[in-house]
């Protein structure tokens, strides 16, 4: 005790000697320069904690097959998706998520190894090693939920954020049976947060989320820091419907179900192309526009994006297809009126459920010919009791069916037997026609 007291006294009395350089803090600024210098070094050196997400060079596969045989007999090949790569090596699979969000500067690398196997010797820095097949999954995003029942692995789900938004019947059943916990900590949609304490309790061996690149909304930094194996799904960034659906292979890789994924995807792809082929030669392409204004700004999907691809493949003439923006464009209402006044069809007007509601928002909508002729369609025919739109859920996994819906809207004579599934022609009033 005495020793400590003496030490403290000494420390209290200690001063920098007169010859100490200025940055040690002997000047009239005290310790300020020292602190600044330390902080600067810290920043320049980069944060000293391990960073999981980092750009990394591709691993070179060791030559020659192993004697034990191929641990990954089912392999998937990507044909549309540009947001991730999937490669197979003798001892592991490697997934790189290239565009987790718009203008992302980071990529995420995952090394998938069989359970119990030791990680390969050449794990790139920043890569995350995941033992597969994974058995306990927490899902923080709706965008890839539909792939789980499609692959037959929905039973591995132990937690989901935003349970009330779920439409997928298989998952709803599991939720009702109490087998999937709510892991949301408030916020909805793109802004939802995860309840980390719940995650520690659930002990998942994989957490799948989406990233936005907006620090306040993103959950993966916290999850990575807490040591969870965290996958960032970027399928909502893909600009073609088939590419979005191809992320089924991303999920499948974690379960060694690539064979199922390939089979389902090929069927879907075939069906999609067959339908697109039927409308390709059509001369009559109805003109169409999308969305509705919020506070006099009309957010119109860009011509290089997901909606535009769908509309083109469905044999419609999207009025903003000349623009190659992938995201939304903020247009003034008068520009939209000028170009779309005589358009044949109006699709996806916000959350509107009836024509009356549309008029209630802004009576000037009646200036559009599509409104006058009643050809207004919205993709909100299937909404969960909690407000989740099934179009963004199971629709992601069935682009062929979405396309059939759209062809029904633009060329009903081509698909007489198809009934609109996610879309509905807006009735004038609720419950009426």
């Amino acid at each position: 005790m005495k020793g400590i007291a003496r030490l403290a006294r000494c420390a209290g009395r200690w001063r920098f000697p007169a010859w100490a350089p200025w940055f040690l803090g002997s000047g009239r600024h005290g310790a300020m320069p020292t602190l600044l210098a330390v902080w600067l070094c810290w920043c320049l050196a980069g944060t000293p904690f391990p960073v999981h997400a980092a750009a990394s060079p591709k691993v070179t596969a060791p030559g020659g097959p192993t004697a034990l045989g191929d641990p990954f007999p089912h392999r998937a090949q990507l044909r549309y998706a540009t947001g991730f790569t999937l490669s197979y090596h003798d001892t592991h699979k490697e997934i790189q998520v290239l565009t987790p969000w718009r203008d992302a500067r980071v990529t995420f690398t995952y090394i998938l190894i069989p359970r119990g196997a030791s990680p390969p010797s050449s794990v790139p820095p920043g890569a995350m090693v995941v033992e597969i097949p994974v058995q306990r999954v927490v899902l923080g995003t709706t965008t890839i939920l539909t792939f789980f029942p499609m692959l037959g692995v929905e039973e591995t789900l132990v937690g989901f954020s935003g349970r009330k938004l779920v439409n997928t019947p298989e998952v709803v059943r599991l939720i009702e049976e109490g087998r999937i916990e709510e892991v949301s900590a408030g916020g909805d949609g793109m802004t939802r947060q995860l309840n980390l304490e719940m995650l520690f309790m659930l002990q998942p061996d994989l957490v799948l989320v989406h990233g936005t690149g907006i620090p306040q909304f993103d959950t993966h930094p916290k999850l990575l820091e807490a040591g969870f194996k965290t996958g960032v799904a970027g399928n909502y960034m893909e600009s073609s419907p088939l590419a979005r659906a191809e992320w089924i292979k991303f999920v499948a890789a974690f379960f060694n179900r690539e064979n199922v994924a390939e089979k389902l995807f090929s069927q879907m792809e075939e069906s999609y192309h067959a339908q697109a082929e039927r409308v390709r030669g059509l001369k009559d392409r109805p003109t169409v526009f999308c969305g509705m204004p919020l506070q006099s700004t009309w957010y119109m999907p860009g011509g290089g994006g997901y909606i535009a691809t769908f509309l083109r493949d469905a044999g419609a003439d999207y009025l903003w297809s000349d623009d190659d923006t992938a995201g939304n464009m903020a247009l003034s209402v008068e520009v939209v009126l000028e170009r779309a006044r005589n358009a044949d069809v109006w699709i996806n007007p916000g959350a509107a459920g009836t024509m009356d509601e549309l008029l209630g928002v802004d009576e000037r909508f009646s200036l559009f010919r599509a409104f006058q002729t009643g050809r207004v369609y919205n993709n909100n025919a299937r909404i969960s009791p909690g407000g989740g739109n099934d179009y963004w859920e199971t629709g992601v996994g069935r682009p062929d069916r979405v396309l059939a819906d759209l062809i029904k809207i633009f060329h009903p004579e081509l698909v007489p037997s198809h009934e609109l599934y996610w879309h509905q022609k807006l009735p004038w009033q609720r419950g009426g026609k």
């Binding site: 949609g189 793109m190 506070q295 006099s296 247009l331 003034s332 009836t354 209630g360 000037r364």
Partner: protein
């Protein structure tokens, strides 16, 4: 006390209304007419000036599409901008006089936040029934409930700030209290929206960007009369406001019923700021910048002059801000609040730098 609130030497009662050159008034009217015409002519869609004039004259030979754009989109937008600018300027003027503080405005004192809270509660409550359905079914009464909610929210916050004002000596402290109330209501709104759906939140966030374009002619039937009444109330308070400039004691000595006038000021400012906020979103900086601009222009603090000047200048500045927000010639539109801050903030900084002593008023 700074010169900004010292209209002229006290020469007894009644004060003569200071003379302002009629030329200045004429110039203001001319500028207003100019920006008003510009607002009608410039937009994302190019319409020749001649055609715009023809449309305004009722000439029917102009393409129908252009007629609709000018008469159904640009005209209500221009009228909304003028009314909103005038109303926010007037509310700011009343706040600055009431608190005898050059930095007071509906935004700073949390009134706009109070209005936001009122709107958020209505939007939340309406979501249960389907918001759009509610507007549709109830028609104008839903719009009225929006105005009432915004005004009630605004009055609630202003009332609390005023009640505290009686106990707090320093106006700076009062401003800080107002700011803090703004944060409290802001966080209440955030908490409320944790329980709503994404769509509603998006609607609300876009609403906070501010816009004059959301008011249609049908909304105008309620929006315009409410603001006109509010402006008239404010204008009619000019004499009492002048008395307030020199302190409540002085006002009382002049026979002003301080309690009643204070209440009228609160009601008037809340009605003006609340209504604008309900329809156009919380628009910043106009409320604080416009009264200062007018004092500089008119070189007086007499409300008989300032009130009409604030209405004129407010209309001009709001129209100009809206013009900039629409980026003439481009297809994109900017959030209005970004532009008002860009115009308003330098004005405020300039005023503070030019009249450093105004900072000490009431402190």
């Amino acid at each position: 006390m700074g010169s900004w609130e010292n209209p002229r030497p006290c020469t007894g009662d009644p004060h003569p209304i200071p003379r302002v050159s009629p030329l200045l008034w004429a110039a203001l009217w001319a500028v207003l007419a100019g920006v008003f015409l510009l607002e009608l002519c410039l937009g994302s869609v190019t319409i020749p000036f001649k055609s715009v004039l023809a449309i305004l004259m009722g000439n029917s030979e102009v393409p129908e599409g252009w007629r609709q754009i000018v008469l159904l989109f640009r005209l209500p937008r221009a009228v909304t901008a003028m009314l909103a600018g005038a109303a926010l300027g007037m509310a700011g003027l009343m706040m600055q006089t009431l608190f005898r503080n050059p930095l007071a405005d509906p935004f700073v004192l949390g009134i706009s936040s109070g209005a936001s809270l009122g709107v958020a509660i209505v939007v939340m409550a309406a979501w249960g029934l389907g918001w759009t359905a509610l507007i549709q079914k109830a028609g104008i009464s839903a719009g009225a409930s929006l105005i009432l909610a915004a005004t009630a929210g605004a009055m609630g916050i202003l009332g609390i700030v005023m009640a505290l004002a009686r106990r707090v000596e320093s106006n700076v402290t009062l401003l800080i209290i107002g700011l803090m109330f703004g944060y409290i209501t802001g966080s209440l709104v955030t908490i409320l929206f944790q329980f709503t759906q994404e769509q509603q939140m998006q609607t609300y966030i876009t609403w906070t960007f501010g816009s004059f374009g959301g008011v249609t002619w049908r909304h105008m039937t309620l929006f315009a009369p409410t603001l006109l009444v509010g402006l008239l109330v404010a204008w009619s308070l000019s004499k009492s406001l002048n008395a307030f400039l020199l302190g409540e004691g002085y006002a009382r000595s002049m026979g002003v019923n301080v309690g009643a006038v204070r209440l009228w000021i609160i009601v008037g400012a809340s009605l003006l700021a609340g209504t604008v906020t309900a329809y156009c979103g919380p628009i910043g900086f106009l409320g604080i910048a416009i009264p200062h601009l007018c004092r500089m222009l008119m070189k007086t603090s007499d409300h008989h002059v300032l009130a009409p000047a604030v209405i004129l200048v407010g209309a001009i500045v709001a129209l100009a801000a809206d013009l900039l927000a629409q980026v003439p010639g481009a297809r994109v539109v900017l959030p209005l609040n970004a532009v008002t801050a860009l115009i308003g903030a330098p004005v405020v900084v300039g005023i503070i730098l030019r009249r450093r002593h105004t900072m000490e008023v009431g402190a």
